[in-house]
């Protein structure tokens, strides 16, 4: 783990100096989790791709201001999850294509863990984000509170309500 941290600091330093290969290493290390987190919050692969991609572009724009003593992941995850929450809310209002859950399930082959996906999809975006940050990305409630700039009590209550609702649904 410490080795991974050293690698990451070296990649950030290299990228700040203009090394494309270091930037690419950072991208490959963080894209899968960023894209998965965005997908689990938004539940739309195309929008999740946009959100994760824009988060990386925002990270590049701000790379020179990044303090390389800090880990890169939380910085990126904060951008991804905040954008995913905003996009999820906007999508709920816009509903570009009205697709009921039943239609979606008929259209695609049933994925292996679709019940979890459905249960997660039943939560509001803010609760989804907290569940994803806690249980996919492994942040503690205190870290989530700092990432999302929320009181810790709010994080705990969103987490509890989200997991209760998922349990009922499952």
């Amino acid at each position: 783990m410490a080795g991974a941290g050293r690698d990451e600091r070296a990649w950030v330093r290299g990228a700040q100096r203009g090394s494309a290969s270091d930037l690419e290493a950072l991208f490959h290390a963080h894209w899968p989790a960023a894209y998965r987190a965005a997908y689990l919050v938004i539940h739309d692969a195309a929008l999740a791709e946009d959100v994760a991609q824009e988060a990386f572009l925002a990270a590049i724009r701000n790379l020179d201001r990044f303090d390389r003593r800090r880990p890169f992941g939380p910085w990126l995850h904060r951008i991804v999850v905040n954008r995913a929450i905003d996009t999820g809310k906007a999508r709920a209002l816009r509903r570009e294509s009205e697709l009921t859950e039943g239609d979606a399930i008929r259209e695609d082959a049933e994925p292996p863990d679709s019940s979890v996906l459905r249960a997660l999809g039943g939560l509001p975006p803010e609760q989804r984000a907290v569940v994803v940050l806690r249980h996919l990305l492994g942040y503690t409630p205190g870290e989530i509170a700092r990432l999302l700039e929320l009181p810790r009590g709010t994080v705990n209550s969103r987490l509890r309500r989200g997991l209760d609702a998922m349990r009922e649904s499952l």
Binding site: A15, Q16, G18, A20, L23, E24, F27, H28, W31, P32, Y35, R36, Y39, L40, D44, A45, A46, A48, E49, A52, Q53, E54, F56, L57, I60, R61, L63, D64, R65, D86, A90, L93, R94, R95, E96, S97, E98, L99, D103, A104, E107, D108, P111, P112, D113, V116, L117, L120, V131, V132, H135, L136, G138, L163
Partner: protein, 374 residues
Amino acid sequence: MTTRLERIEVPDAVAAEERARRVVLAAFAVREPVPRPRRRRRVAIGVVLAACAVALAAASPPGMAVVDRVREVVGVERSAPALFSLPAPGRLLVASDSGVWVVGTGGEKRLLAGYSEASWSPFGRFVVATREHELVALEPEGDIRWTLARPAPHGARWTGTRTDTRVAYVDRSGLRVVAGDGTGDHLVASAGRAPVAWRPGSAHVLAYVVADGLHVRDVDTGRVLARARSPLRTGLHTELEWSADGRRLLVVNDGVVLVFASDGTLLTRSTREYGRVIDAAFRPRSHQVLVARFRGGGQSTVSELESGRTVFSGTGVFDEITPSPDGRWLLVEWRTADQWVFVRLQGHRVIRAVSGIAKQFRGKAVVEGWCCAR
């Protein structure tokens, strides 16, 4: 829970990673690093050397080409810092996180706050907009003419003549139509979904998405005039647009563009060989289709569908393309550069660009329509 979340299959993951990798590396290649103060002298020397290199490169004809390419690689270099004016008559409707904006020819902007999407009435005198549980007809200056409470309305489109108009929209019950004065709201098709597109003309004929393709329906008689069975992926963003003469219907879905005749016959389908289609539009008063694509290598282009002639290209991702009402200009939303680029379609090539779009519209901005030279 962690294991179950990690096991969920994310669609298209490998291709998405590759697309994102190209865009990210392309953006990184042209970023301008912020110099750190303690290294000022070294950076200054670097700038001088870079300037000499660019000057030397530009001295030869091939070098000129390289320099031009660098200038346009992520954003047009000579861009206006704000939208001071539109290059053609008419007004824009723009949806952003803060609401819907009406932008006049002289660049003046009015925010209609609280609405999530909107479209113009046929002659640009009114706007139909939606918010959480309400369909609203209002004047572009913001005065509300009527409202209709409906569950989660969206995708509203307005059609008609100066004396008889209809608004189509979708809510939780299906596809509905209401007269332009807000009366006579009724369900047209419970299976209908957004987007919808009115066929130009005095008859009230509507194209809309259903589970297995498209329907074209006369909403006055209720008769379905055409059915196009097409494997549309209904969970994905879809665009529908009629040609001005109502004889062609284009559909953008799942990275391809399809062109149908008005009877539902499929006439053209783009291939994925030249990249993923992001948006498409008819050139005004023609059947020529302009297509915005995301291509390999992190490049995007706008080109003619049939001839393949490139109209505009750049690094990163384009969003929507919108022709001006007079057909002389095309607005390209260049997301990666945070610019709008106006490309002249007639006569010699002219490009005008505006930077800082997200800041001007207080969030990600999407052009909903460019309407109606007066």
